[in-house]
Symmetry: D2
């Protein structure tokens, strides 16, 4: 049975009475709280909260929640988002030739791990077209060259608009997005980088890891910001390597990391578990 | 600067209004909440919470908190504990001949990682006496044989009473405690077992891990209950081994695991992060 | 460019002069040794070796290697296998309804990670038929009931014979094989068990892990022997869980483990890295 | 019983017949080979080997091994080192105020994990003097200022000479060594850096990890070269952190990593398991 819940994500200055005010608001309208998690950042005097409740039996109709919550939010100067489990996020995946992350996301989605609609796949190559077809996802090939970049992105924006895309996943998409692209979708573009950032920022991280002789390789999923590889980190993981492994082995082992680290980030975003502040993420579990 | 906080650990049937009632109680007495974390177990319809607040500026004197909180607790049928950071837990460590866990706990305590008093060390050998002396902890050698077990435990109980011991840590203490001992200190005895329980329950787990040819060895810290190695698990960790490693190597690698896994459990207990139910632990982070 | 190599896997009583004899044999016929790894088990007085050399420039034609090596082997009472990289192993995958391991193996195979032919897929359900078709692998649905088990296995054996199958991978195949089946393919059937064996031997390991309240879940790949879940362990890995995770979450997290742990075992087997003795494996890296 | 073994560490251009020549040399003098491991770096056409044999029954007296091996070495242009288990390395530990790595090394040494003599401890503070005394290791306080650095190092060199020091361990020694110091002890100074290099090169890595919002922190042990934090990496490990953890928590968690990562590097060096080439390490297991 599908659950029917609402989730509030709140960021505001830390003050006494905050939790009581939120709890009272929900309790007074008969909410059955399913999860609540909070975080205080004392250095920045910030309060961050995620609270999820069952909409069955909740006294306020969904469309009126914002109006009823507004006074509480205003009193505490809250930034807040309301997410409804019934409204699935619309996701676009962008990919180039390496298809392991794409195949992984599609398989997880089919298996029910990702509570979203994958509306479309955009690639600058035809390589993944059959895979998209197998999973029944519309596929758009938009080639990108130095000359046509703005034009290509315009086509991409049109597709995003048309499909009311909420989240863009760069599943090993090897083109750098323009500043305009990035600014249009703040905290709504997730990328996978094949190193444990901030080590090996930039291109060819596995080659550089091999040359440096590290004993661990990693992968990092992060929101895309205008500065390359500097956006808020959502998840990282590593695996051990030895002197016996060549660059090709690192690339192969890294694929498993990339799949897992990207899919976690996508899932957490879809489940409204992530709050961003100070170029960092809070991931509520 | 030492913080001066109170922490409530609460377990009760899950009902609407719980969080609001607790938050209202604290807010109405000017509490500055520092951390709050909760867990619902829907299968058992249980609500579990840990909430910590600053006592500076709190309107109720410490000694009156229980009286003021009692009506809330009673209304929701809560089991609850109140912990004060100013009142350090009194800890007894029991150890036999392997001293690595003891040395680790003493070093961490000295470095400020463990906010407790280590009141005494009890051993059935003299082996660790000098180590205890170096850290200035009273050392008691109580030999245990099949014949004198009851008598030996009586001496141990007397020491625990005298020192108002809150927590007993079995840091590789190789004697089995009597049922009487275990019943006296429910959820107040922490043991380290040198396997990833429930694999290799019982004696000589490293030898059996070697024979079975596992690729990982582990360690488990748990509360002691009457059934050997069956108590609620607090923490586990593992490390990878290969065919090159002999039993002695497993024992050596395992020591690092045992140290870390035991010290985490002790710290979490001391910081009142652990709630037990259904023979499992909730560890609030 | 494909490499063209030969690999010797050797097990014999440990004696002086072994390495010199093997090295002399290869050197005297102009072998260019690419990898050599050995292991001594002093307890069992066993010597185990894996040695791989380039066939380009090797003085003995491939088909004559056994005849030339026989005197060396005989002198040291060796059990030995010769593997040629040019002769790809023929693999059969058996699967029931959970398709994540199958999808993972097929995707890795397509991407070049597994140097084998996947000759066929056998399932007791139709669920994975389309997936098999997408990757172009012949699919055989053989239903198994209590009554027709012997008959069903006879069909399976016929398919294995016809396709000269070298390795059978149980990718979450939920039927117990008969003793006859197991005996036919010694050290040639790899299974994935969804726990860190020997914990949670048998059925429903995730449910039992949840009930026991462990802090880690694991997966184990092993060769199948007649005693269920007791065969030689090839690989294990674990992931951390918390009290927040329900059985469904364990199952989901476990899928990632199962995929990785099974695919490693299959790859190592295919690359002739595994030697079995004393119900354990040596995995040469 | 102490083993009495010899170990050869060899680096040379990769050529046919190498292994046969080494194996023949040992076999013809009745060596009982205990471990042999080799690595080919095809990119650099390098062959690296570690081979350990029992000196009981070996036909050549220890002092004559170099003379007998010289022709083999010369024929294949080998760089080689001969290590005897009977000749324990003499180790000096340098430390500043953080004493966790020092305490860990001393405890492991006492427990028999490190087959070396710890000849002396040098510190620029008096803080660890009592700890040194407890373990019975001579302690030398040599204060270092900007002005007296050369003089202080001269004192250190005198102590190293006097004690015939083979290995210098920087166990959180917070002074930068002069180029002269580093050049005197090539591949004989091991440092612990509190990050997964090359991330957070330089000072205050935990603070910078906290600011960057990484999800993992690490530690790296490496040989010291003239370029700070750029020497060959011996070992690395990481641990997971969350948004709940402040800089102090990172520092505390990091201590466990530092201890383990440094002690592994020291042990492997002492056991002659490490070969350095191309600013990387091969660690034979």
């Amino acid at each position: 049975m599908m659950k029917n819940t609402a989730t509030l994500l709140i960021t505001c200055p830390d003050r006494k009475g905050l939790v009581a005010a939120i709890a009272d608001f929900l309790y007074s309208h008969d909410a059955n709280i399913l999860h609540a998690d909070q975080h205080q950042d004392s250095e920045n005097n910030l309060f961050l909260m995620r609270i999820e409740w069952d909409l069955n039996g909740f006294a306020i109709p969904v469309e009126d929640i914002p109006r009823h919550f507004a006074p509480v939010a205003s009193r505490f100067e809250m930034q807040w988002q309301l997410k409804l489990s019934a409204k699935k996020p619309q996701v676009a995946i962008m990919v180039s030739q390496y298809d392991h992350c794409l195949a992984d996301l599609l398989h997880r989605h089919q298996g029910g791990e990702l509570n979203c609609d994958i509306s479309l796949i955009i690639s600058n190559h035809r390589h993944t077209e059959k895979l998209a077809a197998f999973y029944g996802i519309p596929f758009h090939c938009i080639e990108v060259t130095r000359e046509n970049k703005a034009e290509a992105e315009a086509k991409q924006f049109a597709l995003f608009d048309e499909n009311r895309i909420d989240l863009i996943v760069l599943a090993r998409y090897m083109q750098i997005l323009s500043p305009d692209f990035v600014q249009r979708y703040p905290q709504r573009i997730i990328n996978i980088h094949h190193s444990f950032l901030p080590a090996f920022v930039g291109a060819r991280p596995y080659h550089r890891a091999f040359e440096r002789g590290v004993k661990l390789i990693g992968a990092t999923s992060h929101y895309v910001t205008e500065v390359l590889d500097e956006g808020p980190i959502i998840e990282q993981d590593i695996t051990r390597i030895s002197h016996r492994e060549q660059v090709e082995d690192l690339i192969q082992k890294g694929r498993d990391l990339e799949r897992i680290v990207l899919s976690r980030a996508v899932r957490w975003h879809i489940e409204s578990r992530i709050l961003v502040y100070a170029n960092k993420t809070v991931v509520f579990d």
